[in-house]
């Protein structure tokens, strides 16, 4: 408190560095949003404008009305939600077995899940393509859903196991003493307490599957109507040429759900963690 001015002065470089980091991290996204809102004349100006002086929704209209936009949106949603629901259900069973029951082979099973979590999925593009072809599942959203289910499953098991460990087993036991069956105790007592954990893990899974590109690009070849949004967006240059306004509008529309999910998720993850900490 003796020298407040010098202290504030010492903080100047720190705050400047902070502003630089803030600018570097936020500018690309800001530039995307602002380009999407600018009329083409402003986008193709020799001196770029850093504020939307003449905002327009034309580019969003172009993107939404582009061929198949609604189909690809629906495909992405179907594949993502299908995969997330499947992996949530399967992971809940596995997490219960690992977290609440004692059995031979439990350690080996956990090890397998950890290894699967680190599997280099991109190295499996070629065999997946061949397998999909052998089973007549090339160009089908089912195959894509199954792949996304498997890529999110190990992570979901590990996280749910963590959340489950935070719910004291004594609660279940006392419910059993009161006459509940084992499964009934789990369903009535533990499952509601697990809700934030289920929500946050499924949102993580949602983001992973929503963003996936490599498999969607490999397994959907001929049937262009089965493409997903990431693949469509990556080929946007072919669709719109050098219409950067439309490209950035499409990128914004693609990013929007993830951004919303992320904002919700931040909240839920914290509340999930607090729930775990509060149990004492």
């Amino acid at each position: 408190m003796n020298h407040p001015p010098s202290r504030a002065l010492r903080r100047v470089p720190l705050n400047l560095a902070a502003l630089l980091v803030l600018a570097l991290s936020a500018f690309p996204v800001y530039w995307m949003a602002i380009t999407a809102l600018k009329p083409t004349a402003d986008i193709q100006a020799d001196t770029p404008t850093f504020l939307p002086l003449h905002p327009t929704l034309d580019h969003f209209r172009t993107a939404v009305h582009a061929d198949g936009f609604a189909t690809f949106w629906r495909n992405s949603l179907l594949v993502t939600c299908g995969a997330v629901l499947m992996s949530l259900l399967v992971a809940l069973c596995a997490a219960f077995a690992v977290g609440r029951l004692r059995w031979r082979g439990r350690r080996a099973f956990i090890l397998m899940v950890f290894v699967a979590q680190m599997a280099p999925w991109e190295a499996l593009l070629i065999p997946m393509y061949v397998i999909a072809r052998d089973t007549d599942m090339l160009d089908s959203l089912t195959m894509l859903t199954l792949v996304y289910f498997m890529t999110t499953l190990p992570f979901t098991i590990v996280t749910l196991r963590g959340f489950l460990a935070a719910v004291p087993v004594e609660l279940e036991e006392s419910a059993q003493v009161d006459g509940c069956s084992r499964a009934g105790a789990f369903r009535r007592i533990t499952l509601p307490l697990l809700a934030p954990g289920l929500l946050s893990t499924s949102l993580f899974g949602f983001i992973t599957a929503w963003n996936e590109f490599a498999f969607a690009n490999t397994l959907i070849i001929k049937n262009q109507d089965a493409r997903t949004l990431p693949v469509w967006l990556s080929s946007f240059a072919n669709v719109f040429g050098t219409d950067w306004g439309a490209t950035m509008a499409a990128s914004s529309l693609f990013m929007l759900p993830v951004l919303l999910v992320f904002l919700v998720l931040q909240n839920k993850v914290t509340s999930g963690m607090t729930a775990g900490a509060v149990k004492g």
Partner: protein
């Protein structure tokens, strides 16, 4: 199965009264429960992970080209594919580039991630919140959206980067075609990967920093330690496991990175940005040499396995008591 003998011994006495048989049957059923619960996971893993891995290994020792893909029969050729891949100087160039790519990206991510984390710790509450929001925004940007954004930032004609460089006096950057040159394409990809990965490293490390007791810093200050000494002697040793975790995750992530490279350059121009995953995909997809592609994939996994084993060992040491 393993508890079955136990369950069998109990109702061994045939004359046992009915009430005894009931709990025995329940015991056997209870013993089967865990296995029923993990069955879907095992089935999924078998069909969607183990089978593709096995299939990949199998293809890598077969002659498996377009014709075999259609006909469905393939001849075994032993290790001929591996001999061919390992004997190809291209493979070694690509491997060297992949290692260099991984080291460069991981190094930059850890450097900027650590600096950002330390900065977040030192900042005031409001500024910290602002910077964290920026980092979360970056983190939440989907890979493909980020990729199109970077293509737009570095456009030759109306790209804002060229305009800024020109305005700063670097006039050679006027209409500079970033994606036409080997070095500049590589640079953009590194910038993209680092931009996307720093938030995870920074926020995780910042989370770790907040757990270090203030007394340790107090003591270091009393001993007259400078900023660098404090980091080297207090912060780093305490957070060593966390640094190891983040580094190994970033190594794995950068090494197997595919989507960004494929969308921006497809490994080009020339082979300037071809890393192992891209190389394997090129061989399989455009040349229809699925056998050689599988061999490259297998070799990629073997190289990655080193990072995986390190990560697994750490995980097991940490989770050991929870198992």
């Amino acid at each position: 199965m393993l508890t079955a003998p136990q369950a069998d011994t109990r109702p061994a006495a045939p004359a046992a009264p009915p009430p005894v048989r009931h709990p025995a049957r329940r015991g056997r059923l209870a013993a089967a429960w865990p296995y029923l619960l993990i069955a879907p996971t095992l089935v999924g893993t078998a069909f969607l992970l183990l089978y593709p891995v096995a299939r990949n290994l199998l293809m890598s020792v077969q002659h498996f080209r377009m014709a075999e893909l259609i006909r469905g029969d393939a001849e075994f050729v032993g290790l001929a594919n591996y001999t061919q891949v390992l004997g190809d100087p291209d493979f070694w160039t690509v491997t060297g580039r992949t290692l260099w790519w991984t080291a460069l990206n991981t190094g930059l991510i850890m450097l900027f991630g650590t600096l950002s984390a330390l900065m977040l710790k030192a900042l005031g509450r409001r500024m910290r919140l602002a910077v964290m929001s920026g980092l979360v925004l970056t983190w939440a940007t989907p890979v493909i959206a980020a990729t199109t954004i970077f293509q737009w930032l570095f456009q030759s004609r109306f790209g804002v980067v060229n305009w800024a460089l020109d305005a700063l006096g670097f006039h050679s950057f006027q209409n500079y075609a970033w994606f036409a040159h080997r070095g500049s394409t590589f640079f953009i990809l590194v910038a993209l990967i680092v931009w996307q990965s720093v938030p995870f490293a920074a926020l995780t490390l910042y989370g770790g920093l907040t757990t270090i007791p203030a007394e340790l810093y107090e003591a270091a200050r009393l001993d007259g330690a400078g900023a660098w000494q404090t980091f080297r002697l207090v912060t780093f040793p305490v957070l060593r496991p966390l640094f190891a975790l983040v580094t190994s995750l970033e190594v794995i992530w950068c090494f197997k990175c595919f989507a960004q490279i494929w969308v921006i350059s497809q490994g080009g121009p020339g082979d300037a940005t071809t890393t192992l995953p891209v190389y394997a995909f090129q061989i399989a997809q455009s040349l229809h040499k699925y056998d050689l592609g599988s061999a490259v994939s297998t070799l990629t996994v073997l190289i990655l396995a080193a990072a995986l084993v390190f990560n697994l060992r750490r995980m097991f040491r940490q989770e050991g008591e929870a198992l």
